[in-house]
Symmetry: C2
Subunit: 198 residues, 2 copies
DNA sequence: CGTCTATTTGAATGTACTCAAAAGCGGTGG
DNA sequence: CCACCGCTTTTGAGTACATTCAAATAGACG
């Protein structure tokens, strides 16, 4: 994986939503950096600066928040071709509310938040792109939220493995439990129940 | 309340996030329509077209989804100076996933989704505006989601009345229960408990 | 005043949590 | 190659929180 291959994947990802002119591509060619992340390293870290956004080239990531009681809650997983970012308004302090950690060695295209802001000013197509994908993220989370308050963990588990088949090969079970909003013990019991019904 | 007063409020709302040129204002002056909604009427309706976005001038709204079992779940309430819209990707069918209903007589500035898309193309500042407020909505929902999976209903109730003091005077209790993701009976019991502890 | 809806109260049930401990699994060093 | 360590998953018993179903009370609106 090298820089120009990463830029090309990034370009393809954006082109799925908005048309990009060659001069637009020139603009972000230099602003995005390729970076390798070792397993278990962080792109941003709760309570710290959180000034980087990333586009996943390879590897699986988890974005999570650690609450006052010390429990971690997975907000989402990110796979190749996904975007990673913390868009928190964390009061006056400008610290991240979430942490992003790789589950395995990973390559990202990363960009500084300030530079991203500048880039969006210069390239209206990108502003449009991020408006569109943010709307999609919001729509997805709205449905997940409704699913969470209207059904039990069994339904949420079924929905997840249907929506993301193969996720159980990529992500350890206790983190899937965290994503579903339940404890690892509960997920284990649940799966036992489901298997016994075959 | 007349059209130019509505446009003025809308202009002020947008100006809080992005600078607007006089010619930008000219652009949407005619695209936004003032409309009065009687109590209990809808801006968009689950399963139907859902082609209107709105900006609340007066009145309180609820946006909710009705699940397969027939239960309604409040996604959010909207007050004056808030935006209303359904941004669902509902598969191939282009129908709304949510309904928006007024709790009282209300005035909105409304715009057709197609016209809005055109407007965003023409006015980059507006594209930027909607990117920013969508990010904020996402950030708010992320926190609400985490609160929902990490705490019990008492904590969520306390958080709500702290964040929106006076909401209990505007919204009936069973709809607050729905927003919290619990049944009206549970909220009633909860409040009794809380009162007995004073 | 009567009807319709919202709220309260009660008893029984279900779902997931807590605390505790055992079993499984993967990686590392001897 | 095996033994050990740390981490993940499983299992168990008891508990907390919110639901279900049912009925009574209170409030709002015409």
């Amino acid at each position: 994986m090298d820089h120009s291959a990463g830029i090309e994947l990034l370009f393809q990802n954006i082109s799925k939503r908005v048309p990009l002119e060659p001069q637009d591509k020139m603009h972000f060619k230099d602003l995005f950096k390729l970076q390798k992340f070792d397993k278990k390293s962080f792109l941003f870290n709760q309570g710290k600066s959180g000034e980087w956004n990333g586009f996943v080239l390879t590897g699986t990531w988890r974005v999570f928040h650690c609450d006052d009681k010390g429990s971690e809650h997975v907000l989402y997983f990110a796979f190749p071709d996904w975007w990673l970012g913390d868009m928190t308004i964390n009061g006056s302090e400008n610290t991240a509310f979430y942490s992003a950690q790789t589950l395995e060695d990973s390559y990202l295209m990363i960009i500084n938040k300030e530079q991203k802001e500048q880039l969006l000013m210069q390239v209206p197509a990108l502003e449009r792109f991020f408006r569109i994908i943010t709307e999609r993220h919001l729509a997805v989370l709205q449905k997940r939220f409704l699913l969470t308050i209207s059904t039990n963990a069994v339904e949420r588990y079924k929905e997840l493995i249907q929506r993301s088949p193969g996720i159980e090969q990529l992500v350890p079970q206790h983190q899937i439990a965290s994503y579903l909003g339940i404890l690892p013990e509960s997920l284990s019991r649940m799966k036992k129940q489901l298997n016994s019904k075959d």
